[in-house]
């Protein structure tokens, strides 16, 4: 693994400021960060908390592959790709990307590409626990895909309850 790419699967809370500081060098004029956090609602239902499950060995390897791919395509310095698993409360950070670069455009572009790749490839799954007392449900695919489809994969929901 390239020494400038920090990849971690963690269960403890993610410290975004510490990771941003960890990737920045004095030669970098920009540090772009993206933090994904637990939202208090999903498709009109109030969310109480989420459980994140992972295929941990593959997830770490996949983070490293994503980091290496990005480093080859973007003129950036160090980066950090960190995902948390376990039970997360509303407002807690589930995923953090931090990218340092000499200039802002590359830092921002690489940061945006990183979170898209993580959502597309990382073997992690979230289960939503609702504040309305309903049964918990697995989320399938990126939020954007579910929202675009207008429904949370009804067949899978039937499987869950079947």
């Amino acid at each position: 693994m390239e020494p400038g790419i920090i990849c971690r699967m963690v269960t403890a809370p993610i410290d975004a400021a510490a990771l941003a500081a960890e990737v920045a060098r004095n030669s970098d004029g920009a540090v772009a960060t993206f933090a994904g956090q637990v939202r208090d609602h999903h498709q009109g239902r109030p969310v109480d908390h989420l459980e994140y499950h992972a295929y941990p060995e593959m997830a770490l390897e996949e983070l490293r592959r994503i980091g290496a791919d990005l480093a080859a395509r973007h003129a950036v310095g160090r980066m950090a790709l960190v995902h948390r698993t376990g039970t997360l409360a509303v407002g807690e950070i589930s995923v953090l990307v931090a990218v340092a670069a000499p200039h802002r455009r590359e830092a921002l572009a690489c940061c945006a590409a990183a979170i898209e790749e993580i959502k597309r490839r990382l073997p992690v799954w979230k289960k939503e626990f609702f504040a309305d007392g309903g049964a918990p449900e697995w989320v399938f695919g990126p939020d954007e895909a579910c929202a675009a489809a207008g429904a949370p994969h009804p067949p899978a929901r039937e499987i869950t309850r079947g």
Binding site: E62, R121, P123, I159
Partner: protein, 81 residues
């Protein structure tokens, strides 16, 4: 040949276990491992549900050939982030 099959998230709930060893014919593919798992756990083959596959900790297409001792993973579409 024997392969180790691991299940995650909803797939693990369906199978009721996190891993098992499956005996597959020589020349079997990742899709063949999925079919063998679905033969044991019928709800894996429910219409409209398409599990994803990984072989030795890399995403893999159904047609990827397997070797003795491979680690095959079967899981739902990912939803991290």
């Amino acid at each position: 040949m024997k392969v180790k099959v691991r299940y995650f998230a909803l797939v693990a709930e369906i199978t009721g276990c996190s891993q098992e060893t499956l005996e597959l014919p020589a020349g079997a593919t990742a899709g063949g491992a999925l079919a063998a798992a679905a033969a044991r756990h019928g709800r894996l083959a429910a219409p409209g549900f398409t599990p994803l596959l990984a072989v030795n900790r890399r995403h893999a297409p159904q047609e990827q050939p397997l070797s003795e001792g491979d680690e095959v993973a079967i899981f739902p579409p990912v939803s991290g982030g």
